[in-house]
Symmetry: C2
Subunit: 383 residues, 2 copies
């Protein structure tokens, strides 16, 4: 039983060839017949997250991008610099679908009761290949949204909300009581700010500009420090002292920032030390790097003793660690607070073809807070 599902649909693909050429294009796929436990979702809203850009562009230098093809079927090509091609070895010559998450309408369902129950419902999805008109997926992977929820409101149900909640959960599980967050004016940062205000958790928001500082302050953030300020290190130290943060989540990754956070934490911890220890404070200070907004090397000036750690943090291993029951509780909270705590703002809604326009890529591809795009893969294509 199918409701308004076309026999075929477009999907965005990213291909890096062995010769170092990136090619982004749209392909036409037959819409799959769902298996008994599957549904077909007409994807109507799917965000472009920083985590999607990594797969979309790979290691390509997008300043070399050129556009060809037609308006309906654009093709973008760009060069992967020689030195970075090796890091792409695992994906060479495979046209990869893109798009971690999205939302849309269930337009076809397999024969199982669970699948049939979803027919016509608006659902949120996670699992890749969301930059597609139609996405076939297991019914159990769909998060059913309350009646009347617009797909755009449910498009970012997973990556940002679960990451924000995961940070707070990690803080508690690892024995910290407050935290620092960088790139804090992002959609994710705003969610984290709302969670921390709600739960009275000390949060130090690190941003890059006065404008972002003002935005977060207007949203009730108590501690906002800008790396653009000449007093950044003092401001960060005082905010850490006020909150007692010994944990940070850093979306930037490159440059001195992760180390600066540790330096300020250590300065606060040794302020109150009664006796000199050349090994520094005994309190463990941790920075988790969960993004790569700056691809430059991480530079740690180790003036923060020996009780420290810097490491990668990813949402999915974290969810595996806490187990399905705990993860389900987080998802229920997200659905309940979709229009408040977990609301996302988008600068623009574009079609799949528009996503392959160089002038749009120049905006959504720059990994900067404040230009968040939503793709509607069916924009202008279905009714």
């Amino acid at each position: 039983m199918n409701t308004g599902v076309a026999s075929h649909g477009l999907q965005l693909r990213s291909l890096i060839r062995g010769n170092g050429e990136l090619e982004l294009s749209l392909v036409t796929l037959d819409t799959p017949q769902p298996q008994p436990d599957e549904v077909v979702v007409r994807v109507e809203a799917t965000p472009i997250n920083p985590s999607d850009l990594g797969l979309l562009f790979g290691a390509a230098d997008m300043s070399t991008a050129t556009e060809s093809g037609t308006a309906a079927r654009p093709i973008v090509t760009a060069r992967v610099p020689e030195g970075r091609l090796r890091s792409m070895a695992g994906r060479l010559d495979q046209p990869l679908p893109v798009g971690n998450e999205g939302a849309g309408t269930v337009v076809a369902a397999g024969s199982s009761v669970a699948a049939q129950a979803l027919l016509g419902r608006t659902v949120a999805l996670f699992g890749g290949a969301m930059y597609s008109q139609y996405r076939c997926i297991k019914a159990g992977q769909c998060l059913v949204l309350p009646e009347g929820t617009a797909p755009a409101d449910g498009a970012s149900c997973f990556v940002n909300p679960l990451t924000a909640l995961g940070m707070v959960e990690t803080m508690r599980r690892e024995g910290h009581t407050a935290l620092v967050h960088t790139a804090a004016a992002s959609n994710l940062g705003q969610m984290l700010n709302r969670i921390c205000i709600d739960e009275a958790i000390g949060l130090v928001n690190v941003v890059r500009t006065q404008e972002q500082q003002d935005l977060l302050s207007a949203m009730g953030a108590r501690h906002v420090c800008s790396t653009g300020s000449p007093t950044f290190m003092q401001d960060l130290t005082e905010a850490i002292a006020a909150t007692g943060a010994t944990l940070a989540f850093d979306a930037i990754g490159g440059g001195p920032l992760a180390g600066q956070i540790l330096t300020c934490m250590e300065a606060v911890l040794t302020r109150s030390a009664s006796e000199y220890s050349r090994y520094g404070s005994a309190t463990h200070k941790q920075v988790y790097i969960y993004g790569a907004l700056d691809l430059a090397p991480t530079v740690l000036t180790r003036n923060f003793g020996f009780a420290w750690g810097v490491g990668g943090w990813l949402l999915w291993p974290f969810l595996q660690k806490i187990g399905p029951a705990a993860a389900q509780k987080l998802r229920q909270r997200i659905v309940a607070e979709l229009k408040t705590t977990f609301a996302s703002r988008y600068t623009k809604v574009i079609s799949l073809a528009e996503a392959l326009k160089l002038d749009e890529i120049a905006v959504y591809g720059k990994r900067a807070t404040g230009a968040k795009y939503l793709i509607d893969p069916n924009k202008g294509l279905t009714t």
Copy 2:
């Protein structure tokens, strides 16, 4: 009851003044009367470990060092560069005793049975202020050495042996099966090499020169890679592939080495991957920085996915974590294998006054493998 204990003795002190001047000197102290549970040890052998240099020189630039005073009471002064003085805030204007560990003869004992039982015995000590002719210490902190052990053979019973054993224990507790060690030709590295050969643990030794490579190979090391070789990265990758190491202990700290180890580990882990993941391998890779032979910043070129950690590692928090029973087992093993697994070699034995000679400082202060000094604080002073 005292046996051959003088009423006073020399102690080496390190002082950094608020004006940025480091002063190293010898002071005369009255030999303390031991409390009931204490003993007085005539220290006869105490090593200069890299961990002692940190306290001895602080942040001073030893290329600015000058010598004054007399041959018996030399004074060394040097400048702490302005930018590094802040990191010394906790120790300014306090003359600090130095020397983490040592061995000697119990020459006086308090009234308790435990203290009296040690009289005349050769014991190994840990606890600071070992660059002293006489060290008063709790009887329970003494590690009694087998009859006939020379103090020089027991001088390094704690820092290096416990660190080497702590690395292997950490490897097991954190679920790794093999490890990488840098500065691997050091006394500590040689101990670790012997432990790993004994226990058939895969060990990748990273050294800086062909000479050190030859030394370790002659000692039975199977995997030795030199950072001085043009094929270092390939050599390290192959050694990691052969051993399956996903853990490293790094004594260098500064520069690209910690990150290079993670890069090579990730290259091995993704070799066998059947599917491309832009987040890298899911296997956690860990580098613990336990020294600072290079004070330059740690530079991490993050081409190793998100399942990684870099952090500080210190022996004492580790021992606290494993608890006194487990720590005691490690100490027993060290005493039993003092002349084999845990044997140390020293380049030279010097007196306290000689430790304050610029030409000796130039050798033992350079934080390089192959010039290990032992101080005999009673050299030429007692019979």
